[in-house]
C-alpha cells in the first residue's frame, strides 16, 4: 500500500499577515510560513497507517518557498520518502495550480491513497484534496478522522458531519482523503533528528511546468471591518468579574437561589 501525503506551508497566523491595504495584495515575501496544521494531521494518520499495516508513506510538497524543513520533518517523523515538486513557483501559487501539479505527479506514480489536510487557512480557490481528487477523477471524502486498511485493497474511513454524526465508509483504492484529524495528536520531530535526517537523506526533486487552469484574475484581501465587535470590559480580574455579574443580571441570567 503506497500512501501519498500532500503537504503545504501557509502563513503563520501567530505572526502578522502582511497586507498592502491599498492594493489589497498579500506581501508573500514578508510573511513567515508554517506547515498547514491539517496537513500535520494527515501525515500523522498516514504514519499511524504505516505502523499498523506497513504502508509506505511518501510526503510531497510543491516548492512554493522553503518546504525542505517541512519535508525533512516528515522524514524525521517516519515518512519513507519525500518529494519536492520544483518549478517556477512562489508563495502566491494558488491551490488550484498546486493541485494541478500534485495530481500530475500522483497520476504518474502508483499510489493507492492520497491523504491531505481537509482544508487550510488560505484555500480561497478550493481545498487541495478535493481538487486533486477531481483532477484525478478518484473518489474522495473530506472531514475524515480515521483511515484504516480493509481487506482486498479496500480502505475504511470515518467521516464526520455536523451534529456529531459519523459515517463509516468503505472505498476501493485509489482514493483521496481530506483529513480533519488523526486518531492521535501529531507526533513531535526533534530538531536534532530533523537535522540528522537532512544530512543523511535527500529530497527527491521532480520538476514541473507552470500549470494552466482557472485562476482568479484579481483577488483583493481586506481586513474585516470590526462591525459587531465586542464591547471590551476593562480592568483587573475582579473588576471584570463584577461587570460580568452585572451583565448577567441585566439579561436576567442570574440563577435565583
Amino acid at each position: 500500500m503506497r500512501v501519498a501525503v500532500l503537504l503545504k506551508a501557509v502563513p503563520d497566523l501567530v505572526e502578522e499577515l502582511v497586507l498592502d491595504e491599498e492594493s489589497g495584495s498579500l506581501q508573500y515575501d514578508e510573511m513567515s510560513y508554517v506547515p498547514s496544521e491539517w496537513d500535520d494531521q494527515a501525515l500523522e494518520e498516514a504514519l499511524i497507517l504505516k505502523e499498523e499495516s506497513g504502508a509506505q508513506v511518501t510526503a510531497i510538497a510543491v516548492s512554493t518557498g522553503d518546504v525542505d524543513t517541512m519535508l525533512f520533518t516528515a522524514l524525521a517523523k517516519g515518512a519513507d520518502h519525500v518529494v519536492k515538486i520544483t518549478g517556477d513557483f512562489d508563495a502566491s501559487m494558488s491551490n488550484w495550480q498546486q493541485a494541478r501539479v500534485l495530481s500530475d505527479y500522483v497520476r504518474e506514480q502508483d499510489f493507492d491513497m492520497v491523504l491531505s489536510g481537509v482544508q487550510a487557512i488560505d484555500d480561497v480557490d478550493g481545498q487541495i484534496p478535493g481538487l486533486v481528487a477531481g483532477f484525478l477523477n478518484w473518489p474522495h471524502a473530506s472531514v475524515v478522522t480515521e483511515v484504516r486498511m480493509g481487506g482486498d485493497s479496500k480502505v475504511l474511513l470515518r467521516q464526520e458531519y455536523s451534529g456529531g454524526l459519523v459515517a463509516e465508509i468503505e472505498v476501493e483504492s485509489p482514493v483521496v482523503i481530506g483529513v480533519q484529524a488523526a486518531r492521535k495528536p501529531p507526533r513531535y520531530a526533534s530538531v536534532a533528528k530533523v537535522r540528522q535526517v537532512a544530512k543523511s537523506v535527500a529530497i527527491e526533486e521532480v520538476s514541473a511546468g507552470a500549470p494552466a487552469g482557472p485562476a482568479f484574475a484579481d483577488i483583493q484581501f481586506v481586513r474585516p471591518v470590526a462591525a459587531g465587535r465586542a464591547e471590551m470590559i476593562e480592568g483587573d480580574v475582579d473588576a471584570v468579574a463584577d461587570r460580568i455579574v452585572q451583565i448577567l443580571a441585566d439579561h436576567n441570567l442570574l440563577r435565583r437561589a
Partner: protein, 316 residues
C-alpha cells in the same frame, strides 16, 4: 447565462438553514442577473422536501444509491447535472458535503471554485464573492469570472429564504455508482449532557491549557446553572467528549448565554454558536476572531476569571 444551482442539504429535521440561506441569496441574484434558480437534492423524499423551495426548478435524485449520503455517488450525480444544466453559479453549503463536492466538482468539470464564501455582492451585473480566509483574519474579494464558478457558502451568511415556491420538479436517475460505499451512519453518542438544550454554556477552548483546569469550568458552570461545552481542540486532545463540541463538526447551539473562554473563534466554531442571545468572550488576545462575534469581551486570564466569577455567583 446559466441558472444558479443550489446543492441542497437535509438532515433528519429537514432542509438545513444554510441551504435556505443559499436559496434566498440565489433568488435575489437571479433576479438581478436575469436568470433562474435550480435546487438539487439527494435522497429518498427529496422531491417532497424541496417542492416548496423558492426556486424555479428542483432536481431530485431519489434512487436507492442515495439512501444515505455518499460523497462519491452524490459527486457523480452533481457532475452530470452541472454538465447538463451549465449553471453560472453552483452554490453549496460549506459543510462536510460542501467540502466533499465543491472541490471535487471543480476539479472534474474544470470550473473555478471560491471557498468559504460569506457573501455574494452584485455590481453592474458582475458578482464578487467574499471569502473568509486565514481563520477569519482576512476577507478575500474574488470577482466571479464571466463563465461562472462554484461557491461553497459558510452557514450563517444570509437570512434564510422562505419556503413559498412552486418549482418545476424533475427527478433524475442513472448510474452514479462509485467504488465508495457507506457501511453505516452512527448517531452521536448522547453524552451526559445535551449542550444544545442548555440555556447557559461555559465553553472552553485551547486557553484551558490542560485538563487539570477543567474543574474551574465545571465549577463556574455549576455556579451559573449551565453546562460546559468546548471547541474542537479540546475534544481532539481527548479532554472532553465529542458530545460537548460546539461548531461545524460538533453541535450548533443557541443558548441564552455563551461564555467563550480561551476560544479564538475559528469560522468553524463561530458557525456553531453565533446565534446565541448573549456572547461573552474571554481571550487574552484582543484581536481574536471570537471578539467579532461576541457582545462583550475581556482580555483577562480565563484561569483567573473563572474562579472569581464562580465565587461571586455562588456567594450570591
Amino acid at each position: 447565462m446559466g441558472p444558479i444551482l443550489i446543492v441542497t442539504e437535509s438532515t433528519a429535521s429537514g432542509i438545513t438553514d444554510s441551504t435556505k440561506e443559499c436559496v434566498g441569496k440565489a433568488k435575489e441574484l437571479a433576479k438581478v442577473l436575469g436568470t433562474s434558480t435550480v435546487a438539487l437534492g439527494f435522497g429518498p423524499g427529496a422531491v417532497d422536501r424541496l417542492r416548496r423551495l423558492d426556486v424555479n426548478k428542483v432536481i431530485a435524485a431519489e434512487d436507492g444509491e442515495f439512501a444515505v449520503y455518499n460523497p462519491a455517488v452524490c459527486e457523480n450525480a452533481l457532475v452530470q447535472v452541472v454538465a447538463e444544466t451549465a449553471p453560472f453559479l453552483t452554490m453549496i453549503p460549506n459543510t462536510t458535503m460542501g467540502l466533499d463536492l465543491g472541490a471535487g466538482l471543480a476539479g472534474r468539470n474544470n470550473i473555478p471554485l471560491i471557498a468559504y464564501c460569506s457573501d455574494l455582492q452584485e455590481q453592474d451585473g458582475k458578482i464578487t464573492a467574499v471569502s473568509q480566509v486565514f481563520a477569519g483574519k482576512l476577507l478575500a474579494r474574488v470577482p466571479v469570472p464571466g463563465d461562472g464558478a462554484i461557491v461553497t457558502v459558510l452557514p450563517g451568511s444570509w437570512p434564510t429564504g422562505e419556503e413559498t415556491g412552486d418549482p418545476v420538479v424533475e427527478t433524475i436517475s442513472g448510474d452514479y455508482s462509485s467504488r465508495m460505499r457507506v457501511i453505516r451512519v452512527i448517531e452521536p453518542e448522547k453524552g451526559d449532557v445535551d449542550i444544545t438544550k442548555a440555556d447557559i454554556l461555559v465553553s472552553v477552548g485551547r486557553g484551558i491549557e490542560s485538563p487539570d483546569n477543567l474543574p474551574l469550568a465545571d465549577e463556574l458552570a455549576e455556579a451559573m446553572g449551565g453546562v460546559v461545552s468546548c471547541s474542537r481542540p479540546v475534544v481532539d486532545a481527548g479532554w472532553l467528549p465529542k458530545a460537548r463540541q460546539v461548531g461545524k463538526s460538533g453541535q450548533t447551539v443557541k443558548p441564552k448565554l455563551y461564555l467563550a473562554c480561551g476560544i479564538s473563534g475559528a469560522p468553524e466554531h463561530l458557525q456553531g454558536m453565533r446565534d446565541a442571545d448573549l456572547i461573552i468572550a474571554v481571550n487574552t488576545d484582543e484581536e481574536a476572531s471570537i471578539m467579532e462575534a461576541a457582545h462583550f469581551g475581556t482580555t483577562v486570564d480565563m484561569l483567573d476569571l473563572m474562579p472569581a466569577l464562580a465565587e461571586r455567583l455562588r456567594g450570591g
